[in-house]
Amino acid sequence: MNDKNKIITGLVIFFLVVLFPFWFNLIFGAADASTAPEPELTEKAEKAETCVAETEHMRTEHMQILDQWRDTVVRDGQRIYVAENGKEYDPSLSNTCMDCHSNKEKFCDRCHNYASVNPYCWDCHTYPEETE
């Protein structure tokens, strides 16, 4: 163990480099990157209180619900959705989701940008223009 010092220094440098993203983020990026943004609700969405499912469920599963809506409407032609809470909905992104959540920039985009996902919904589907 004659090169003990050299080896330890080398290891320290190695780990510093390998763990660069972690410590860099801890020190410099804490303010904007590590806190998840909160989607903003419109007045209409807040008044409705519940979405087609519970908030927690919507937060984690909305993409699966949308996929299921898409397939059932387009391929099976079934256009009435009876949710868990017993209410009937028109399974439509543009007409049902965006009716309440008409603030796409503050509701959809915030989290999608944060999570770096680019859903291609808006290539075809329309959303209400934000008027402000």
Partner: protein, 270 residues
Amino acid sequence: MENSRRRFLKNAGFSILGVGAGSMLIGLSAHTSKAVSPDAGQRPQFSMGDKAMEAERWGMVVDTRKLNDSICRKMQEACHSIHNVPEPVGESAQRDQIIKWIWPTEFQHAFPSQEVEFLAEDAAHRPVVVLCNHCDNPPCVRACPTRATFKRERDGIVMMDFHRCIGCRFCMAACPFGARSFNFRDPRPDIEDENPDFPTRMRGVVEKCNFCAERLAVGKKPACVEASDGALTFGDLNDPDSDVRKLLAEKYAIRRKPNLGTFPSVFYIV
């Protein structure tokens, strides 16, 4: 030496058993905790709704004797405006890149296999409105590699799932009626008044008439039929008492390119 190999195998066997049993226990506990969670209410369900118009095989009869240019234009406008079909103007309006769901043409182009040597003057110059025939044996469906084009078994409509279309255009090559159009460019800038109730398309997908499936679902007849002043009749071809079948029983009607065996669901009274 032999002893240690024996011990190794023994240990390995017990370890595998232990890991297997452990993961099973974990799985079981996760399963039970999920079942207990308060997931009240019934599971979400889909249905057709009461208002939806249903049929075994939707079909259409076009009375070409009632057609003229202004009715054709009205029908096309009605269809294209509600389905967000782009109407390019100026530079982008290249003739081979036009998108159309329903459009007027001439007799000899609509019925090339109908060889009439001395065609009546009025028939030769009258417009014939053509659209997707929603064939009973659709060649486009067989050509589609992603099943983006499919025939709804419930009512015979040949539909497109724009989400799945990869723009290979095999269906356009397969369709003998030229009923399909390709979006060579983003269609949005060429749509004048976007109908928010219907999606647009994106660049690189094929589109065509869908027999107004979205209107049938809420109990409305196709837009072209409503705008046709009685020139188009819409109904169930499998129901002998339907409007279309009554009309077909009275009047002699032909179909486009019947020799190809696609069995179109659009009939023409000439």
